[in-house]
């Protein structure tokens, strides 16, 4: 309570105290152990005027009581009276002090104005002034003396006060803002100083610099500048090469406190770990004899730059000969460090050493740290200029040069060397056993023990009996034992004694109270399903999700499904920390990184899937997951893997970084990248799934024969190999071919979706033309026009993909229109691509044309596949019926002599012609041949047909292939069809391979028949019918609006209008 009041009074100090030095003493921290604020209260009084006798302005006990009353709602009449009396006294006193103060100020002004003023005078006046206030403080302290004080209440009050002052100081809109300016790394201080100097220089010149401050915090690479306007900041930062002011940013107001706090509040944790040692800390010596030895800081001086450390001595007293042993042979033994051993004066003396006794303070090496040390006046044994007490060596060292930075991490063994009771020392020692026990010494010992205990329990993962988890500040815990059981708590502080101070989480009556709990009463409150990180132990660094918590061997454990590898591991609850981090393992362990391919003993080859702290998880070529230590690994095979080429299921080469498609297994068809390859084994990484929650980090092993390389690299070559007999040539050219693809499309990135699609140009000179994309960059595509024998390069936005995009998919109205205009305005037969093939040959080898452009006409390359494809050619004659003048004979599809040729070129027309003219060609298909009798078509035996076709039987199978694949274009499930016998039926199933269809008769729906599709005759839809349309690979329903010549205009269900080849439109059977 007493302290709280002091704080209360110190708060009022924020009122300005006009002192000679134009400064007030900044407010104190909440634990302000300094005296009371007599002066400040005076200052307050003078400021606010006497007419405002608040309770704050009272002195001594009265004020205290009032506060008490305020806090505890208690009134005491007697004390009130006393308060009133005191208040009068106090006012008097204040008046007096005010007068004195004014006098003093006048004096001081004289001091500073007069040329004969001297330091002594100023200091004396200061002394006087402060002396007076001190008197008041003492008065107050005396009065407060007898009051009992409540710890918890005080702490809470102090905390809230602290918060209140912070709150009051929080930045407001009226305050200047902060800008973060990137700064050359490591030059933050320099930049700040430059700004300060610049400011000073500008002030001298008379230009006002309008920034308030510039600062560097613990954040590297940035400085902050405080100002009221951004241009000012820019102006100031201009010309400083250290600053990159063009990328500066304003700090949001809510973050302003954090900017300062990160350097301030983190100081106890982060910063002090770096360089600030505390008394009682452990450290390690960085050089000389004791290099690497653990030592304990017993005193600090000089702002933490020098320290008295306590060490277990390493004295060479083993020597048999007295003098030479200790001194003479020292050099010879320099290499071998003497073992750690406590100092024993009698031994040394017995060995002939000279031990004297001296106070530590009087040592030659004793510096400022020694001055601060309570034990410095103790009598130490001095041997060879080193001081020993109770067997330990004490010496003062420079912290920066003699002690290692970073945590000492003492082991249990090392710590125990420091716990030796005095009784262990022999009674015959020169040990000053009659030493007065210093309380500090005792406490030191106690904390040491606690530390050892803590270490034994917390770090000793090898100790199975360990139960008590180690908590950190702000850990969420729940009490599992004691009266608080079940209460959720938050750890506030951890005392070395093993007591954990907690705040209640959501218990209003316990707000602000710290509850001491023992560690074994607490359990980290982490729910099943939360994502955690393992902090310690064997699995340190793993992250995962808690599947289960439970008790195992009396220890609270959690079963965790790890993120990487998806294994279940069991870890102690004490090692678990909630975290959203997802571990990908360490970067490297002894040079082995993730996805390295390594050679294991016995010739096994494996790829690293996870790098743990001590070992590596590897996936062997047989698909086993193994854990190996780096020492077991013979060597890395990364280079070999990069050179490795294996053959995939289509005899294509597979290498590292290739994109492959799985042929079998549960993920058949999935895309994967080859991470490593070794002979025929490929280590693949799934392309789509993230590599986090999948076993082995998404890595799996396949034989190269179980995959094939993605992309169209395979298609052309296989066809060529089989049909063209060009296999050898292909192989010879393959590298060139691959390079070309790689250059054009980027092999591993996959081909551009535009390539190979049929597009229409919707802008520019070529507007309306259609073509196939042969090449694509990020901005432009090369379109090979269907209509003209040329390619054009167009910006991407000028083309539009035509629906139903198979490369050879025909026929937009526009395209046809152009075809009519351009191709058929001249003589059709004279077009080179028609004359190029004799009718017979051309009909017989449509595939030939499909593949040959690559090779037979290299100049065209892939750019002209359409010229040879049946799709295109199917379109060209269609103009025939529409342009009778150019090819009068063409109009009649039923003309046998023409249909023989034409039907090969125009497979689409087949059903059409058949339905109208019962084209005899169909009877020639092998499939239909068997059914001739069944269908009983006499026309099939047209003599003319026989004459022209049967004479070339060798060409027949290929000639029929395209028609069979196309003849049933309208043949889709649900389409209405007419059988040869006139029955109406509905197609319910299509077998595309065999060209068979299963139909259900309209009359007797239960009856189904399987027939070749060629026997089905399309029921022509009428305008207004519901139709089903086959548009390339897509099949959709639509409404037929009208029929124009050979085209149907349809309205697709999604509202789109399309013009579709009428032959590809089937009526939907409505039964």
């Amino acid at each position: 309570m007493k302290r709280a009041i002091k704080d209360n009074t110190t708060n009022s100090k924020s009122y300005k105290d006009k002192s000679a030095f134009n400064h007030d003493y900044p407010e104190q921290s909440a634990d302000g152990a300094l005296g009371d604020g007599g002066t400040s209260r005076v200052a307050f009084k003078t400021r606010t005027g006497l007419g405002k006798p608040t309770k704050r302005s009272r002195l001594g006990i009265s004020r205290y009581i009032d506060d008490m009353a305020e806090e505890e709602e208690e009134e005491d009449n007697n004390e009130k009276l006393a308060a009133a009396r005191l208040r009068v006294d106090e006012e008097d006193r204040e008046m007096r002090s005010e007068i004195q103060r004014q006098d003093r100020r006048r004096n001081q002004e004289n001091f500073f104005e007069g040329s004969d003023a001297d330091v002594a005078g100023v200091v004396k006046s200061l002394h006087e002034r402060y002396q007076r206030t001190t008197q008041l403080v003492h008065d107050l302290d005396d009065i407060d003396e007898g009051i009992p004080y409540a710890d918890k209440a005080h702490a809470a009050l102090a905390a809230s006060r602290h918060a209140a002052t912070r709150q009051a100081n929080a930045p407001s809109l009226a305050d200047p803002r902060l800008w973060a300016i990137p700064c050359k790394l490591g030059c933050e201080r320099e930049a700040v100083l430059s700004l300060m100097n610049k400011c000073a220089a500008m002030t001298c010149e008379g230009t006002q610099m309008r920034i308030c401050s510039a600062m560097t915090t613990s954040l590297r690479g940035f400085i902050y500048v405080e100002s009221r306007s951004e241009p000012d900041v820019r102006m100031v930062a201009k010309g400083l090469r250290l600053l990159r002011s063009w990328s500066m940013k304003m700090v949001p107001m809510v973050d302003m406190v954090a900017v300062l706090s990160t350097s301030l509040d983190a100081s106890y944790g982060y910063a002090s770990k770096r360089n600030g040692l505390r008394i009682g800390d452990w450290a390690r010596v960085s050089r000389d004899t004791y290099r690497g030895d653990l030592c304990r800081i017993v005193a600090l001086g000089n702002g933490g730059s020098s320290a008295v450390i306590m060490l277990v001595p390493r004295l060479d007293v083993s020597s048999d000969t007295a003098e030479a042993g200790v001194f003479g042979r020292k050099d010879a033994f320099r290499k071998m460090r003497p073992p750690m051993r406590l100092f024993n004066a009698s031994e040394i003396i017995a060995a002939g050493g000279n031990v004297t006794q001296r106070r530590f303070r009087l040592n030659t090496s004793a510096g400022s740290a020694s001055q601060n040390w309570a034990l410095a006046d103790e009598t130490f044994d001095v041997f060879e200029n080193a001081s020993y007490l109770k067997g330990y060596l004490y010496k003062e060292v420079n912290v920066t040069t003699m002690l290692k930075r970073g945590g000492a991490d003492p082991t249990l063994d090392e710590l125990q060397r420091f716990v030796i009771d005095t009784q262990e020392m022999g009674p015959g020692d020169n040990e000053p056993s009659s030493v007065v026990k210093y309380p500090a010494d005792d406490e030191q010992k106690r904390s040491l023990k606690a530390q050892i205990e803590l270490l034994a329990r917390g770090r000793g993962t090898q100790d199975p009996t360990q139960k008590s988890p180690i908590f950190e500040k702000d850990d969420k815990v729940e009490a599992i034992e004691g009266e608080m059981r079940g209460v959720a708590l938050i750890v506030e502080r951890m005392a070395p004694s093993g007591i954990v101070y907690c705040r209640a989480f959501d218990e209003p009556q316990l707000r602000g109270v710290l509850i001491p709990m023992e560690t074994h009463q607490l359990l980290k409150s982490i729910q099943v399903g939360s994502h955690i990180k393992v902090q310690d132990g064997k699995y340190a660094g793993q992250t995962g999700v808690i599947l289960e918590r439970g008790v195992l061997d009396g220890d609270h454990v959690a079963v965790i499904l790890t993120d990487s590898g998806g294994r279940e591991i069991t870890v102690r609850f004490s090692h678990v920390q909630e975290s959203s981090e997802i571990s990908k393992g360490l970067d490297a362990l002894e040079g082995y990184e993730l996805h390295d391919i390594v050679l294991l003993p016995l010739g096994a080859v494996a790829v690293v899937t996870y790098v743990a702290s001590e070992d590596l998880e590897v996936l062997t070529s047989r698909g086993n997951l193994r854990t190996v230590r780096p020492a077991e690994i013979t060597r890395k095979l990364n280079q070999e893997s990069a050179r490795n080429i294996s053959l995939d299921s289509k005899d294509e080469h597979v290498r590292e970084t290739d994109l492959v498609i799985l042929d079998d297994g549960q993920n058949a068809g999935a895309l994967a990248t080859v991470v490593r390859a070794h002979r025929a084994s490929l280590w693949l990484l799934n392309v789509i799934s993230g590599a986090t929650t999948i076993p082995c980090g998404g890595l799996f092993v396949k034989k190269s024969r179980q995959v094939h390389v993605a992309g169209d690299r395979a298609t052309g070559s296989t066809l060529a190999d089989t049909y063209m007999g060009l296999g050898k040539q292909r192989v010879v050219n393959e590298d060139q071919f691959n390079n070309k693809i790689a250059n054009n499309r980027g092999r591993s990135t996959g081909r551009d979706p535009f390539v190979g699609r049929t597009v229409r140009i919707c802008k520019g000179n070529y507007k309306g033309l259609a073509g196939i994309v042969t090449n694509a960059t990020t901005t432009h595509v090369t379109v090979e026009l269907h209509t003209r024998n040329r390619s054009v390069t167009q910006p991407r936005e000028c083309i539009k993909i035509v629906a139903g995009t198979a490369g050879g998919e025909p026929e937009l109205a526009v395209q046809r229109r152009i075809a009519e205009q351009e191709a058929y305005s001249t003589d059709l037969v004279s077009t080179p691509f028609l004359t190029q093939a004799t009718p017979l040959l051309g009909g017989a080898t449509p595939q030939y044309g499909a593949v040959t452009p690559h090779h037979t006409t290299p100049s065209r390359g892939t750019a002209t596949p359409t010229w040879g494809t049946p799709a295109y050619s199917s379109q060209t004659p269609r103009g025939g019926p529409q342009t009778p003048r150019s090819a009068p004979g063409h109009g009649k599809a039923t003309t046998p002599s023409y249909s023989g040729i034409e039907d090969v070129w125009r497979p689409r027309e087949l059903p059409n012609s058949k339905s109208s003219g019962k084209s005899p060609l169909h009877s020639m298909s092998p499939g239909s041949f068997n059914y001739l009798a069944f269908s009983g078509h006499s026309k099939a035996k047209s003599p003319m047909f026989d004459g022209s076709r049967a004479s070339t039987p060798t060409y027949q199978p290929p000639s029929v292939m395209p028609p069979t694949s196309k003849s049933g274009a309208w043949c889709v499930n649900g389409a209405e069809a007419e059988l040869e016998d006139g029955n109406i039926c509905k197609i319910i199933k299509i077998n595309a391979q065999k060209n068979m269809a299963t139909v259900a008769l309209k009359a007797t729906q239960a009856l189904t028949r399987s027939l070749p599709t060629s026997l089905l005759v399309r029921v022509k839809p009428k305008a207004g019918d519901k139709v089903r349309v086959v548009d390339g690979s897509a099949v959709y329903d639509a409404e037929l609006l009208s029929i124009e010549d050979s085209d149907g205009i349809i309205k697709v269900d999604n509202g789109e209008y399309k013009i579709i080849d009428f032959s590809a439109i089937a009526k939907v059977a409505d039964f």
Binding site: M196, C199, C212, S213, M215, T216, I279, L514
Partner: protein, 132 residues
């Protein structure tokens, strides 16, 4: 003496004249170089009497500090308010310092009710008595 008089008139504390050997006054956090402290003492804390007294400078200033603020307008700056240096002279200040005044000076300051910015190592955060 003359120095002190000058300081009173001056509107600004010294700026460190080197990038090395910075020390911060444990009382107010002012950052200067050792020789500057030795030459002129601390402008904010004349009562520490650092000038021309090497041991005083050694014990009342620390090289163990973090963060640096070049404070140009302490009266207007929010940072200064937050850091509690708004009544100090313009100058370069440490944001956090660690170190301990010698006990005599500590006592002196305590007697005079002069607050001190330095946090002694090992004393931080001990608001709650260890054994509850």
């Amino acid at each position: 003496m003359a120095a002190l008089v000058d300081d009173a008139d001056r509107e600004m504390a010294d700026v460190p004249n080197s990038m090395k050997g910075h020390r911060a006054c444990l009382r107010c956090g002012l950052v200067k170089c050792f020789d500057q402290f030795y030459a002129e003492g601390c402008e904010n804390c004349p009562f520490l009497e650092l000038a021309e007294r090497q041991d005083r400078v050694q014990s009342c200033t620390t090289s163990n500090f973090e963060g640096m603020v070049a404070m140009m307008k302490p009266d207007d700056s929010w940072v200064a308010r937050w850091e509690g240096i708004s009544r100090n002279l313009p100058g370069v200040y440490a944001m956090r310092l660690e170190g301990e005044m010698p006990p005599q000076i500590m006592q002196f300051l305590r007697d005079k009710r002069i607050s001190c910015r330095a946090t002694a190592p090992g004393e931080g955060g001990s608001q709650i008595p260890p054994q509850g």
